[in-house]
């Protein structure tokens, strides 16, 4: 069965189709380096903690890396930065490889289809995503998958905009990057990324308030709502300022990119996804800024992914799964079209056979 893989700066998520369901395997794209000894390893094994070790060094992977970083007050290391493999982290590829192997798993059959989300080239940075895309693709291919790459923004369109015939704007605001795709009938018209996301907000707030970045991230995830009233000088106030700055920046670039094309005369629905859109009040602020942006297309409505995660009590929206889900939809569609093509080829061959036998007669 086909799979969808979202390789994000903060999370690597794999979506797999079950019987009337989707199962998501998710790991944090991070690791923590520690000193290794027999006792530590024994404890980690007992606690079913994911780790690798080499000599006296030990790397704790995924969600556990965050837990241990708080306990030992050590900084975690991130294999990806600004949406692509971090050139500053020498162990980035090997760590991503382990995490991808873990969440994607082995294919049920050789050549199983996997769609992998990759960022579009950024418009505000010299970064080129080609190396990252090819590396991630090769890692999945090595496992035996038949791989295809898809823009992150387009995967949001596939996941959330089926009701508008896949016509709309898919925006994914992740930790490292913001990806935007304007699609018309499932076809991308404009696709670009911006090298700013949740991490950029945290960094700017950290600089502005002088508080540690990890602390900012924790406040952002637990004690922050856009639109609430905060004291001047508070972290939450600074977070609101930089959320607003990021949205304005994204919409400015979207307007510029749209003005360079001739978008069709249709109604475009906007779907927003990604971990950085989790903040309460995000949609309201986005709608306000969108109305002010005066885009050269007609916007019908704004929606945050309707996807419901059962991990949080079954009724909470979680926009981080939309990208993996979009990749899965693309993969299943590809699988279906390949299946029908193969079926057509078989029936064509069967029809050709009697003709041949008649000729022989």
């Amino acid at each position: 069965m086909a799979k969808g893989l979202d390789v994000g700066t903060m999370n690597i998520i794999c979506a797999d189709k079950g019987d009337g369901s989707i199962s998501f395997a998710q790991q944090r794209n991070a690791f923590l380096e520690m000193e290794s000894n027999d006792l530590t390893k024994h404890m980690l094994d007992n606690g079913k903690v994911l780790y690798t070790h080499r000599g006296n060094n030990l790397n704790i992977l995924g969600e556990d890396a965050f837990k241990f970083s708080n306990v030992f007050n050590k900084s975690i290391r991130r294999p990806m930065k600004q949406g692509i493999i971090s050139p500053e982290e020498k162990e980035s590829i090997s760590m991503i490889k382990v995490i991808i192997e873990r969440v994607l798993g082995a294919p049920e059959k050789k050549g199983e289809i996997a769609y992998i989300s990759v960022p579009a080239n950024p418009v505000d940075n010299q970064l080129n995503v080609l190396y990252h895309s090819k590396t991630v693709e090769a890692l999945a291919k090595q496992l035996g998958y038949s791989t295809y790459l898809i823009d992150e923004g387009l995967s949001v369109v596939y996941s959330d905009l089926s009701e508008s015939n896949f016509t709309g704007v898919g925006i994914s605001i992740g930790a490292g990057m913001t990806n935007v795709t304007v699609a018309y009938m499932a076809t991308p018209i404009v696709s670009f990324s911006i090298a700013r996301g949740g991490d950029w907000i945290d960094e700017q707030v950290s600089i502005a308030t002088g508080m540690a970045k990890e602390r900012i991230t924790a406040i952002k995830e637990t004690d922050f709502a856009i639109g609430s009233q905060y004291e001047i000088g508070s972290v939450q106030g600074a977070l609101a300022v930089y959320y607003d700055a990021l949205l304005t920046y994204v919409l400015q670039h979207l307007k510029r990119k749209l003005s360079e094309t001739a978008p069709p005369d249709a109604e475009f629905q906007v779907a927003i996804a990604g971990g950085s859109t989790r903040a309460r009040g995000f949609v309201d602020m986005f709608e306000k800024r969108l109305a002010q942006a005066d885009l050269p297309i007609r916007i019908s409505s704004v929606r945050k992914t309707r996807y419901i995660s059962s991990s949080n009590g079954g009724d909470s929206r979680d926009p981080i799964y939309a990208i993996a889900r979009g990749c899965l939809i693309a993969a299943l569609t590809k699988e279906a079209s390949l299946g029908s093509e193969a079926q057509a080829a078989v029936s064509q061959a069967q029809m050709a056979e009697p003709v041949g036998s008649e000729e022989e007669d």
């Binding site: 998501f24 015939n165 889900r325």
Partner: protein, 267 residues
């Protein structure tokens, strides 16, 4: 209405200029006819300089009125200059020769010169500014002329080409496949990585979008909008790599395109 107003303005300014020339000319002719000298009759001197003074004012006023696209306060400046000139000439005719001594001479001459400066300065400033603007406009027009204009067909062709590229198997990415040598890790995997399976979050979802996406990409998606149907057909043709099928469907594409164009033209 605007043309009429413009014609009247032009007529009025021309007449002002002409009357200025005539007055100045009359003054000069009169001076020549009476052989004007320093010791001539004060009346002759007053008439001569009165005519020349008024003529010069009207010439400058006429020039000012002829300026196209005048700047703000243009009319106030002309009015001010003309009034100062009239006061100067009027004062000269009244006080000459009895009161024509210091400081009256300074006041009268100053008033008249101030009026002339206002009129001449205003004409000069407006002309220079207009010339600068004209140059900028010419440059802009030249740039606009150099910009290539595309016909509707060319735009349509470009859209078609973009659609074909975007729906290719490569999805715009390089076709180069990075080969990674299969090698064992240079580190050891922990027990949980080798022995346990990844925890999964299972959510009920029938993923109905798969069928919709398949239909959208094959051009069979039924929607109420004619434009969307046509576009859907075009997309289907764009992604169809079977040349035989494409050639047999060419007529269909043409029809759907015509339908879409007609729809766009009809608004």
């Amino acid at each position: 209405m605007d043309t009429m107003k413009s014609k009247l303005n032009h007529y009025f300014s021309s007449m002002t200029l002409l009357s200025g020339f005539l007055l100045a000319l009359a003054g000069i002719v009169y001076a020549l006819s009476v052989h004007l000298t320093r010791r001539s009759d004060p009346g002759e001197i007053t008439i001569t300089y009165g005519f020349i003074g008024l003529g010069l004012s009207l010439i400058l006023t006429g020039i000012n009125l002829m300026i196209k696209e005048p700047k703000e306060y243009h009319n106030y400046v002309i009015g001010g200059g003309l009034v100062l000139n009239f006061i100067g000439v009027g004062a000269f005719t009244l006080i000459y020769p009895g009161g024509w001594h210091y400081p009256n001479v300074t006041y009268v001459a100053g008033t008249y010169v101030a009026g002339i400066c206002l009129l001449a300065g205003n004409a000069f400033a407006n002309s220079v500014l207009n010339q600068i603007e004209e140059r900028a406009r010419q440059l802009f027009e030249k740039k606009a002329e150099n910009t290539q204009k595309y016909s509707e067909e060319e735009i349509e062709r470009e859209v078609q080409r973009t659609l074909e590229e975007s729906l290719s198997e490569r999805d715009g990415f390089s076709s180069f496949n990075l080969g990674i040598k299969k090698e064992d890790y240079d580190f050891i995997l922990g027990k949980a990585l080798t022995d346990s399976e990844e925890k999964k979050i299972v959510v009920k979802d029938d993923i109905s979008e798969v069928e919709s996406l398949r239909l959208a990409r094959s051009g069979k998606l039924k929607v109420s909008d004619d434009g969307l149907d046509s576009a859907s057909m075009l997309l289907a043709q764009a992604i169809n790599t079977d040349l035989a099928t494409q050639s047999s469907n060419k007529k269909g594409i043409f029809r759907s395109k015509m339908k879409m164009f007609k729809r766009h033209k009809n608004g």
